[in-house]
Each structure stands twice: as structure tokens, then as C-alpha cells.
Amino acid sequence: MSFDNAYESLIDHEDTHWAFGTGFSEALPGVDREVPSTVDAPDLFAYCLMLGDDALVLSQRLAEWCSRAPELEEDVALANIALDLLGQARLLLTRAGEVEGAGRDEDALAYLRDEREFRNVHLAEIECGPLAGGDFATTMARLLVFSSWKIAQYSRLRTFDDPVVAAVAAKGLKELAYHRDHAAQWVVRLGDGTPESHERMRAGVRRVWPYLDELFTAHAVELRLGVDSAAFRAEVDGVLDAVFAAARLERPEPVPAARVNGRAGRDGVHTEAMGYLLAEMQHVHRSLPGATW
């Protein structure tokens, strides 16, 4: 095999069909993209945003670790998890745009919606390190809770009425199983490591604990679509209890964060961190209107 021509041959290839988003969107080949008659389209649109935003916003947070992880292996692992979630987000936002039928693609939805229109849970958006608001232990506490909850959610969505969401869930489950395993291993290592790591792990769990309740509070859209997130609780609790036991950590008492006039992330009411996250994420896209990327 010759590598000598790698640079020379650059302009001899015009094949742009090497990635999703470059003009071909067969990311889920063979999946029927008709909106099923049994599903209310506005509800399905809203639900795709909820699922897509959860994945997109946590991906954005995890990518902050890139070049800042405790070891190179972890730079690779966290980038991998962020990429998996970004991949899920792209499929879900693309689906949201299709169902809406107003010509919005994944980028219009990711970059041109304002904070109030984002539907992710608060757990995805809060700062858990490497920047202010946490550390590696907090990041792993969040990832354990998030991926355990997502697994409960996606495993039910495999039989969801919309075949695209069902296909994303089926594919995503395999990825999430790895994410949960990675997080659980770190929670155990840190919980049962040194006195310092134990204390940090304990603090990390406490940092994310107030955001648990929202995960199990079903939004009206979810209930109408037959997905009751309150039903995930026992399954998630079981996973967390097993991991905490191995990590020699105590399960904190429930301390649910109060909602704002009864509203939270699923209603578009976010934490103060969200505005900064979006400002950074959307800045370049919005600065160059009409640009193609």
C-alpha cells in the first residue's frame, strides 16, 4: 500500500458522500420515515426535541473534557461518549424537522432555537466539570444517572409507534450500555479508591441528586404518547443502588429541586447555565447567516 500520494491525491477526489449530512441521509437505512397515523405529529415533534436535546446538550457538556481529562484514555472515552450522544441527537433532531414539516433541518433546530424552545432535562445542562460546578467525579455521577435513565427510556421506545424513534432507541441502547458501564466503573473506583476520591464521589452524587426528580416527572406530551417516565424510577433506582453498594457510597435522601411555577426543562424553563451553553454553541452559526458548512 502506498501512502506517498495521500497529500498529492487530495484534489483528485470529489467524493463528498462519506458522512451523514453531506447530501445523503440514509443514516437509518430501511426505516420507514412516514409519520404513522396513530401518532399526533405536533406531539411527536415535541418529543423528538426532548430526546434530541437531552443528547445534544449532554454531548456538548462532555466534549468540554476533550484535552482536559485525567488521562489520555479518558480523553478518548469521553469524546467517544460525546460522539455517540451527538449521533443520537442528529438523528432525533432531523426526525423532529421532518415531522414538523416546516423545512427545518438538524442545524436549524440546534442553532436557531432560543433557550425557551429547548426541551432537555436540567441534568444534561448543569456544569459538572471540568469547568466550574464539578469535577471528574461529578461528571461520572451525572453520566451514571443519565445513562441509567436513558436506558430505561430507550428500552421502552424500541416498540414506540414512530419507527424512526424506535430505530434510534434500539441503536442508542447499545451505546448507552457502554456509557453506563464506563460511568459505573469510575463511580466504583472513585467511591472505593482513596479518602479524597471517596469524598469527591460523595459530593458528586450530591451535586446531581436534586436533578433526579425531573427525570421521572412525565410531561403531558410524553403521557399522551404513552411514555410515562415515572415508571422508569424503580429500574433506575435498582441500578444506582447496586453501583453505590459496590462503591461504598450511601444513597442520598431525595432532595428534588423545586420547579419554576411547576415548570422545568421539558417546558423550556432551564437553569442559568443553559444560556451560556447555547451562547457558545450557537455563536458562529448565527454570526454568519446564510453560510453553508
Binding site: F3, A6, L10, I11, Q60, D75, A79, F136, G193, H285
Partner: protein
Amino acid sequence: MDLEAEFERTVAAEHRVEPRDWMPDGYRKTLIRQIAQHAHSEIIGMQPEGNWISRAPSLRRKAILLAKVQDEAGHGLYLYAATETLGADRGDLTEYLISGRQKYSSIFNYPTLSYADVGTIGWLVDGAAICNQVPLCRTSYGPYARAMIRICKEESFHQRQGYELLMTMMRGTDAQRAMVQESVDRFWWPSLMMFGPPDSESANTEQSMAWRIKRNTNDELRQKFVDMTVPQAEKLGVTLPDPALKWNEERGHHDFGQPDWDEFWQVVKGNGPTNAQRVAHRRKAHEDGEWVRAAAAAHAAKRSADARAIGQSA
């Protein structure tokens, strides 16, 4: 003496030297220095591009960039692993990097100031790296040569992605085209510097060439890079910022101007635009992670003690 003669024969015959073979100390030291410097470059190189992950202007570009920076971490990992086959220790090498004792490619001491820089780094910087690295796929030390084969494949992919980004931007708005040109203006000369000082001033070239650690001189590779880049720039529709750049029919190569070598040495000596920032970033990540690594080690020790206890009670 026989060992040395055998080593010389192996190298001259273009055979590979493997970790358990005898090798001169100078060869070992030079290789460790060169591979470590390459590994450090991959790791420090994560920063200028990582700078744009959070702001990537489309989700596709975000995925491409994140995957690329992840690949760089992977390259760093297998290069550090290659140094370990020579008896070096990754922890020591990291210390040398964050204490400034060992260098990395100076190109990463230039800041990334627009999204076009992501494309320009892919096109020019990865392109220059490929020109430097392709010959190393045939370098005399086996583990290094094999690591380079894999790295070059991925670098070629990155380079194509970078060029494709620039091409897409050039087909976009006037603002995007201006952004690409401005980026190329900033990165052209530093890219030429990536091949190192002129041969007349390069201290290590001769011995490294004899040992087949290095296969071409700095000036040869620089010329090759310029010759390959000019048609690509034309196709892209950007102007390379060198008034002296023109085809020389007689030589069969492009003539081109010299980079500002004073600036080069200034950056190499640590006074580039971001040297202090890059090293401080790496040091902070390493130091902030110390408690995590200590915890992982403590946990592993407890588990192996548990395993021993189970073994004894059985």
C-alpha cells in the same frame, strides 16, 4: 563490536530494528526524543482544534472535529507506547512536556482564531505533517514505523476533511471566503516552518539520515510540500501569501520565499503566541487528574488484595 556491525547491517539493508535487538545508545536516545516529541505534538495539538469543538457551526462539523481531536489523543497514546518499547516511561515524558524540558511541534503555538482555522490546519498543517511522516512509515525502528502507518492513514483522512471544509466555505458566502483567505494567510508561513530550519542549520539531520530515522532533509520535504500545495490552493481559490512563489521550469519545482526564521526560533524557544498557554493547559489537566489516577491505582490495589485473600481462603 559485532553487535554494532549487525545493527549497521540491519539498518543499511532497510530491515527493521525491533525492541529486543541491540541498538546504540545514541540511536535509542534520538528515537525516544523524536517519538516523544511527536507524541507531545499530538497531545498539545488537541488544544488549538479542541478550541472550536463547542462552537462548531454545524452538528456534522462538530462530529468531525470531535472525532479528529479524539484521534489525536489516540495517536499520542500509541506513540507514547512506542517510546515505552525503548524503555521510556509515559509518566516521565509527560513530566518533561509540562516542565518544558521536551518540545512539541511549534505550529501548535499559533492560535486558532476562526472556524476556517480548523480547515486550514487539516489542509496545511496535517498536510505538512503527512509529508514529514509518510517517510517515517519506512523508518528503521519497527514499532515506530508501524505506528506511523496507522497514524498516516488517519492523518490523510483528517486532511481530506480539512480541505473539504475549506472547499465548502469557499462555495459559501463572501464572509466565509474572506475567513478562509485570512486563515491561510496566517498559517502558510508557520506551515512551511514545520519542516524545521534550513538544512544548513539543522543539527540532527545527518546522523538521523544515516540511521534511517529520518529519510529526507528538511528542505527536500519543504519543497515537496510547496509543489503539492500550489495546485490545491488554485483549485480552492485562495492565494498563498508569498510574492516570490512561482514555477521554475528549469528546476521543475516552485521557487518560494523563506519564512521568518527569527520568528521560528522565537517560538521554538518558548516565546510564541501561545506556548505558555498550551503547556499550562496540559499541566492543569495532568495535575487536576492526579487524584483520579491515584484513586484508580488504590482501587486496583484493593481489588488485587481481595483476589489474593480469596485465593488464600480457598
